[in-house]
Structure formats: C-alpha cells, structure tokens
Symmetry: C2
Subunit: 308 residues, 2 copies
C-alpha cells in the first residue's frame, strides 16, 4: 500500500490544484431541486448525500481531495452516519482522496478504536477514510495508536497545530519556555513526520494550520519542513491566496487549501448566482472550484507544479 503522503503528492501534481473541497452540507444551502420536503433526519441525510454526490461529480476532475465534516452528518444521527459512509466510498470511486474532518482524540486503546474505525482502506475499515484530523491536547500516547494504524494502512493524519478561528489564540498562543504552544505542537508533529517519510519527502503526520494566520503559516512552514499542511480558513473565513502562499514549499507542494462554503453554496453567491442560479448549481460549484484553483496558481508556488 502506497504511503498517504505520496498519494497526496501525486494527486496534487496530477491536478496541479492544491485544493480540498470541504463537504459541509447545510440545509439552508441546498439547491431547490435537492432540498428535502420533510425535515426529519433520514430525509435530510438523503438530501445531504445527493447534494454531496453532486458536488463530488462537479469537482472530481479538478481537485485531489474532499474533506467531509463529520459534525454535519453526526447532527442527523444514524441516518447521517450512513450517508457519510456512502459518500466516503463514492468520492474514492471518483478517484478522490478523502480526509475525514472529525478532530478525534482519546487515549490508548480508545484512540486505537477511532483509528481502526476511520482509517482506510475500505473493506478493512468500515468508514475507510484516507486521512483523519486529530487533536493534540492529550499528548503523544494519544497520537501513537493513530500513527501505527495509519502506517499499516497507507493512511494519513492531520494534527491541529494552529487553527483558523479567532479563539485559537486563547490557548494555542500561550508562551511556555519562550515558545507559543502551537510551536511546541508543531515541532513535535515535525518529529513524527520525519519518522514516517514517504518518497515525496513528507511524512504521514500532517498539520492543520489556518489561512487566517499568514505569519504563523510561514513560520511553521520553516519549522516543519516535512509536514503536509491542511489549510482551512480560505474564502468564507477571510484567508486569501496571498495569505496561504507561505504554506507551500518552493516546488508548490506541502500544502492543500480547504474551501467549503464558497464552493458548495456558490449558486447562492455572486458572481455564480447570477451566472448559473439554483438550477445549474453543479456548474456553479465547478466554476467556484476552478476559480479558486486559478487564484492559487496565480499567487502561490503552486504555479510551479509540473504541467499535466
């Protein structure tokens, strides 16, 4: 089984697009044709599944990966979880890597159970995601079981280092031994990545670093040279292509930038609303994804990815 870091590098090189489409379905964002008539969980779950399948169909040729947000499926109870399982399998069938955004974390055998459940390949794991986001607060013995399972199954991890929200300052920026907490976490993630390198020069343990903190992105890039960055906070949260430029290595690898709302619900937003409207929502999704790709190619080292 090929290492996740190498599968991600190949997919980014192939698409020349360091973009991850966040699958964060919301009832109020669904196009008219898909919105459920009834609001009970099973009906909403089915609508979420159809919507996300449509998004996957629209972007699969253009991007390397999608990132389902577990919360929006868990919110619907068991029918939502079934929709999530169906979507993970559907996205992989369309050639996409799936990064499950669950921010899971626990200790010892409990962490092992999360890893066993979520990290693919499908058939071996009931959910079968290619990678999972995890939280570092519990420390090394809580991450180790995730790493062991990921290594055995060719899967990856993204550890929260510096998150994109305003409140990330509260604890992540506390200074201990002259260094903010997020750098303590970042240095440790670099060690973990250095021990699990793929042929691309990156390890299986990646980091979540927000687009809304461009100075920290650049600082962490040099502190963590072998760590894939998953960069949320682009678009709706305020991060721009220029803000994320520092997340990449000089060859245009090393970072994948997430956008959810701005792509998923493009049909509700200018200029796509005027151009496509609700009925042609899949074209709006595709156009918004392609515009984001073009912005990243114009403003970041992603321009240096090899021509396809």
């Amino acid at each position: 089984m090929k290492a996740f870091s190498d599968r991600l590098a190949e997919a980014v090189r192939r698409t020349k697009a360091p973009v991850v489409v966040g699958l964060d379905p919301r009832l109020e964002g669904l196009p008219t044709a898909i919105a459920p008539k009834e609001k009970f969980p099973a009906a909403v779950a089915l609508a979420f599944e159809r919507f996300c399948q449509g998004v996957i169909d629209a972007v699969a040729r253009h991007v390397p990966a999608v990132k389902p947000q577990a919360a929006f499926f868990e919110q619907l109870g068991p029918p939502g979880m079934q929709a999530l399982a169906n979507l993970i399998a559907y996205a992989q069938k369309q050639g996409l890597l799936v990064i499950l955004d669950g921010k899971r974390n626990d200790i010892g055998s409990t962490a092992a159970a999360y890893a066993d459940g979520w990290l693919g390949p499908g058939g071996v794991s009931p959910w079968g995601a290619d990678a999972l986001t995890v939280n570092p607060y519990l420390g090394e013995d809580a991450i180790q079981p995730f790493i062991e399972t990921a290594k055995a199954r060719g899967a990856g991890l993204f550890v929260l280092v510096k998150t994109s929200n305003p409140g990330s300052r509260q604890f992540q920026d506390l200074v201990a031994d002259g260094v903010p907490l997020y750098q303590h976490v970042g240095r440790w993630v670099q060690q973990l990545a250095g021990r699990t390198l793929g042929q691309c020069g990156y390890g299986l343990v990646g980091a979540v670093v927000g687009a809304t903190y461009p100075a920290q992105l650049t600082e962490l890039r040099s502190l963590m040279p072998q760590v894939w960055f998953l960069v949320p906070g682009y678009g709706a949260q305020g991060g721009t292509a220029r803000d994320v430029a520092g997340a990449f290595d000089p060859q245009g690898l090393g970072a994948i930038v997430v956008s959810a709302r701005a792509i998923l619900f493009a049909h509700q937003q200018s200029p796509y609303r005027e151009q496509f409207g609700s009925s042609r929502w899949q074209e709006a999704v595709e156009a918004a994804a392609c515009d984001m790709i073009a912005q990243l190619r114009a403003e970041t080292p992603a321009s240096r990815l090899p021509p396809s």
Copy 2:
C-alpha cells in the same frame, strides 16, 4: 427543563454513589453467551448493544450515570452508531443520565452542529445524550456553541482539563505565565461554570480530571469550586478511592468517578471470575459496581451524602 448540574446532583444524592459506569465494549471482553459467532460489523454491533443493555440492567439501581465511549461504536461503522443511539435511549429509560464520551471539538457553526446532534433531550436531538465531553484546544469560540445548546436543552459538558494518561504531561503541563496549561484551562472552565450555575451550586460546564494525578485533582478542586469533575483513570488505569478523595466537596458532591473495564469485564477478573464465572456475568458487573461504590463511600467525602 431542569439544569443538568441539578439533575446530576439529585442522582448522586439519590444513589449515594458518585460512580459513572463507562460503556467501552470490546469483543474480547464479551461473555460467551453474548459473543457474536461472526465478526462482521453488524453482528458485533448487535452483540455490543446486548452486552451494554445487560450492563445497564445490572447497574441502573446503583449508579447515577453511564458513559458510552463513542470510539468503540464508531469503530463498527454505521451499525455501531445505530447501536449507540439505541443504548443512549435504553439507559435513559432505566433512569440513568448518559454522558457521551466523544471528546468533540470544532469551531463556530461546526461546533454548533455537534452540539445540536449530541445534546438531548431525545426527540429534539437525534442522539439525545445528557452531556458530552469536549476538548478545549480550539479556545472559547469553539466551546460557546456547545454551552448555548446545552443551556437551552438542560444538558451538560465536560471539558478536558487534566487527562489521566501519562502523555497528558506533554502539553497540559507546559508552564505559561507561571501556570501550567491545564490550570489556564481550569480557570476558564470555572468562569464558564460560574455563569451557568444550577441550584446545587455547580455549573453546566464540568471538567475531566484524571484520578491518576491526585495532587492536581485537589489543586483543581480549590481552583474550580463550581465545576463538576468527571474523573477517569480509576481502577484499571491505577487510580484508587483515596486518590480521588480530593475531587469532592465537603458534602460529598462535585465529582463522579468513572470505571469501565473493571466493572464491564468483572466476570474475567478475580475475585468475580471465581465467584460468578462467564454465565453469571451480570451479577459480576453488579458486584464490581457495588464494591466500587463501597470503596468510595469508605474513603471519600461521598460518605457524607444524605442517607436515602
């Protein structure tokens, strides 16, 4: 809807037992009569559900609450999640409070989706838990949506402060401004609890503090006088009744102590194995729970709870 902190205080006073039974089912711990013949997820999920129902039946008269561990159900994919939903409803029907151990966390509207999904009452929420464990790494704006939903629905939260594992030292003990990180988190949790007080004098925001760090338990008790403590690490992880004594207030309230393996799998452990064996596993569960209650009554301020 009565406040969660008051419902918990009432249940602890009624049972005179500050004990939470952790529902962490494991295949290798199942009694012979319940172990599934086939190992596919739906069969294992059904066995987990039957096993946990049996545990609930055995302890419902004795303890105030159970704590299902989400990981062991997620590990089985969608059938596991259905079993989890069934168990939450079953436990509540037997009069138990349900603290879902999911250690969830995310920002803004995503945190709101987790809160909406998990925090009861059932019927309003598809999962319907009475309380949820949450992780503080993302800061205040990630916890606020959980608090708002919990307040509106009479539910509770337990924020990870000082976890029971050895690795909790790595980041939680880093000293910033002369104070370890876990105390920064603890002081903030105390503020949140102070703003959401029930009639019992405790707030809806509780804290997870490990039995394996008795000095920190006592220190945090005085730092966080209005915060319910959920105390893992008892028994199998090494914490004793004497270790957790400092978690209680002088009236015997303020802390609930978790045990999972030592109760669930008592039929595999001395002295219960010899006394009951696999066939009478429910009696072993009940005896182990009652022994733990007796230890806590003997060694902690729980002895001062009012007679029933």
